[in-house]
Point group: D2
Chain length 301, copies 4
């Protein structure tokens, strides 16, 4: 029998924490109100980040507290927090999460395996706060990799015609939604999500684009980069939205190239940026470090 | 008459702020106490950073509030803050500063001008929160540069013998202490500060070392780097202490080199790292973003 | 009397060299022919770079030889080289230069001084292979800086109307062409070169654009970057052509930013990238390390 | 039956090439002699790199020629090349290799899998010029990973006592030498190679050290880095020699850290640098781009 490469430990941090995330219009006293709330329940804060955006007038915070120091569970915490912000208006967005509950992802792939390999390797090394519920591929190339890690692989072929493609997307959506994942990861999935799925999965669908956006949007960015003669190539991890390649950016990075690089060399080298940038951006998403406002993100990394 | 290159604007931020800095042993409720204090005086917080060090059990924070929203001055604020922390024990360290009061520096140099040029250029462009009170050189090479910027230049020759060197240092100390500067910047000053000056200027004397410390401590780091065959060279901005090249590190960066680089090439290229790293580290110091604990620094950048 | 900040040494390398540059359609035997030529004249090669572009089928090389080992001067060398390539067809491009003859530049500026300061600082430190023949500004802000370094400053005001602007450009062109410089450096010169000047100065007019091109072409790139929410900002050094912001790229680099950065913060931080990228790209141009083919560059750095 | 994750394609470049590598004392005419030799056999050069080291007076070159343009095989080429350099003295070092012959590696591991995963992922994606002949582990943790890729895994336990350890090394050497590999990769193999194996495998044993050498040599470099309070951590890929952590460096890189990082965070983040640096350095070794002289390397990357 094949042993799975996944061990039981799923990257959950040794010290259990509750994470408070909040975004709301800024006003005097918010920090104090939150701090008093946390002090009153006896919270031991281990991480606290704040950001007040001068342009939009919004306030964002993320605070981590030690779970073992509290005499209540996450559900009771949520109730109390809901009371606290009950009259803060309809715009306020918040959540309280428990690091002992592993985040779950469904990963969509095509043929190129470097991002999937990298992510699965991190999970296998208990180095990543994620469980992979399922992998969906429109080709079978990466099925053996999924099997080696003991993860269900769903093969959903994508025909070229619009109707067939739509049906394929419906099938993908069914698989994804059955898992209700915290992240739908487009790990070099070369299909464009239809608007309804972008909307349904808003803030959960994470794409890795193989260019330093907004440079080289659209198809074949490495070829575009080669033709323009740039001296750096890059990768961008962003939330998928209906505006193709234009969603809120979580993370970016670049790699130096020279005149010696063909478009194919750029593609090969660029993979290193792609997998790194996806791994970093996805981690921050899973650790509730990312908040979206308009087309931008706060990343409390 | 020579016009000075310095304009009147000294890089003070457009929006005046008061900066609260605090370091003390951590315990539950500190954040809440501080937040309540700030809320009670009606403070509008624009930046807030916190760090709780798991190893030492110390807590650090830096908070910036809008001065124009408060109905009291910085002196009254200091009084109130002193009351707040009065019974927090002898270890607590804090300060409250006013960004409208420009920080003042004395810069010590020898012959190489790239760091001095870079800093003066930033000041002249109203891009740096610093006034240069005086420049001290043990050679006259950089006197014309000081004059061009209208800054007093003091030439203090350093003899080779111990007695003469000690006298020279006493003279430097007299010039420096007359200005009571917020920063004593060793901008490629090739003399080793004696222990008593390190102690007297503790937390204010900032050195730029031309290697990625702790690699290549001591003399001629580029030659050491060349001989070891490293593929990256670097620079380190740190507080000067009695342990040469071993003070608390504020900032570091590296530059890629190859087998083509001679030691002289490394020296030339390394200057770009030196001036960048010094400019960044010194800025953070002047903006009260750095706190030292043991041999390490918290940098709220 | 004001002493100039410029010393006599103009950054010429200690070891005098002749530089051979060649670009031509590739075919078998070119390297051998060149090598035999150099061997026959007794050349001691200290640097040799080659590039064969698979897409265009062009071949490029740069070779540096020690001048002190040759029993002929650069003029004789040029004659011999001209004979060598006489029948290689009309497309071949070549030059032979002498590092003992300092390259000369005219620098165009507006108000922001960071690039000019950085370049003049490098020249003053004998760290840059350039003499600055003149500085032209459409404002007087940087005149004192030019004076401090003893360099002629020409003030050419730019009216807003098309006719006045054209006249101003003619005046600039007259000043520039009187110097016949090796480089016309647009060091944050905020005027768009008219097509005829782009053509006349082709391969010599070097611009620093304050974005990571092709991202954020056109006006106010930092504001564009801020609005798009990118996580890295950059700068691009390129040859000025009639296609605005679309000329052949010599060098690029980026700086990490976060949600904390306002557009103004990006502008301030971006200056560090701008001056570094310009300094590197311009150096390579002056050292005859750059060859243009189509809209791309070979950079033998 | 388990399918292996390895496809048949082993990362051999599409265009077959012969690679000439040469290192010898420099003198006038070498480049010409080589070029004439290559021209005479009708070689189409696609890549040519040269380096003349001013300090040691040695000359190094690497040249790639298209195999399909030559009417002889690699053996005949070697014969001809041997004749060419026959009287160049005993010091000359050279080789001619054929990119159609995949390089073979044996990988030594302990428990941490990130480097192994990364390398196997690259090989599986036909993106790396390597075949993995065998994997040796002193623990069984990574056996399933080896099996998933269909690669023989040898478990060689390492006792703590000197005699047992020596026997274990003898067993490892037997497994390695049976494969006569082009590279023996210490992919986070936490045992120190004995001097006789360093000597036997000189220029083939490649280690990844988890610090920016020469900083933090020896044990637990991340803990050392944490304690020193550095702002960047790094990794170093180098040839293993008898001087522990002091062998010729092939590649290095760094990652930015802050006061927020515990030693454990550094360890986790540092893995990203480790696997990248090892992948790059090992690739250059396998592509015959690295030549060692003294304790330094020429890397024609």
């Amino acid at each position: 029998m094949t042993r799975s490469l996944l061990t039981t430990n799923n990257g959950i941090p040794a010290q259990r924490q509750y994470i408070f995330s909040l975004g709301c219009p800024d006003r005097t006293g918010i920090v104090s109100t939150l701090s008093t709330f946390l002090a009153d329940i006896g919270a031991w804060i281990t991480e606290a980040d704040f950001f007040s955006d001068p342009e939009t007038g919004w306030f964002f915070t993320r605070q981590a507290v030690r779970a073992d120091e509290l005499d209540m569970g996450v559900d009771e915490l949520r109730e109390k927090f809901a009371e606290l912000v009950a009259d803060w208006g309809p715009e306020v967005r918040w959540k309280v999460t428990d690091t002992a509950v592993a985040k779950r992802a469904v990963i969509l792939v095509t043929r190129e395996g470097h991002c999937l390999q990298d992510l699965l390797g991190r999970v296998a090394q208990s180095d990543y706060p994620m469980e992979v519920a399922a992998i969906v591929g429109n080709h079978r190339d990466l099925e053996p990799l999924a099997q080696a890690y003991g993860i269900p692989f769903h093969h959903v072929p994508f025909p070229k015609d619009a109707v067939g493609k739509r049906k394929a997307f419906d099938q993908v959506a069914e698989i994804v939604d059955a898992e209700n994942p915290d992240a739908i990861v487009l790990a070099r999935f070369m299909q464009i999500l239809p608007p309804d799925l972008c909307e349904k999965w808003e803030g959960r669908a994470i794409n890795i684009h193989h260019s330093f956006l907004p440079s080289f949007m659209g198809a074949r960015p490495y070829l575009q980069a080669y033709r323009r003669g740039v001296k750096l190539i890059g990768a961008t991890c962003h939330y998928a939205t209906q505006d193709l390649d234009d969603g809120p950016i979580i993370e970016q990075d670049v790699i130096r190239v020279s005149h010696k690089y063909t478009a194919r060399d750029m593609q090969r080298q660029g993979r290193d940026a792609e997998k790194q940038v996806l791994a970093r951006g996805l981690r921050w998403h899973l650790e509730d470090r990312v908040q979206v406002y308009g087309n931008r993100t706060v990343v409390f990394s």
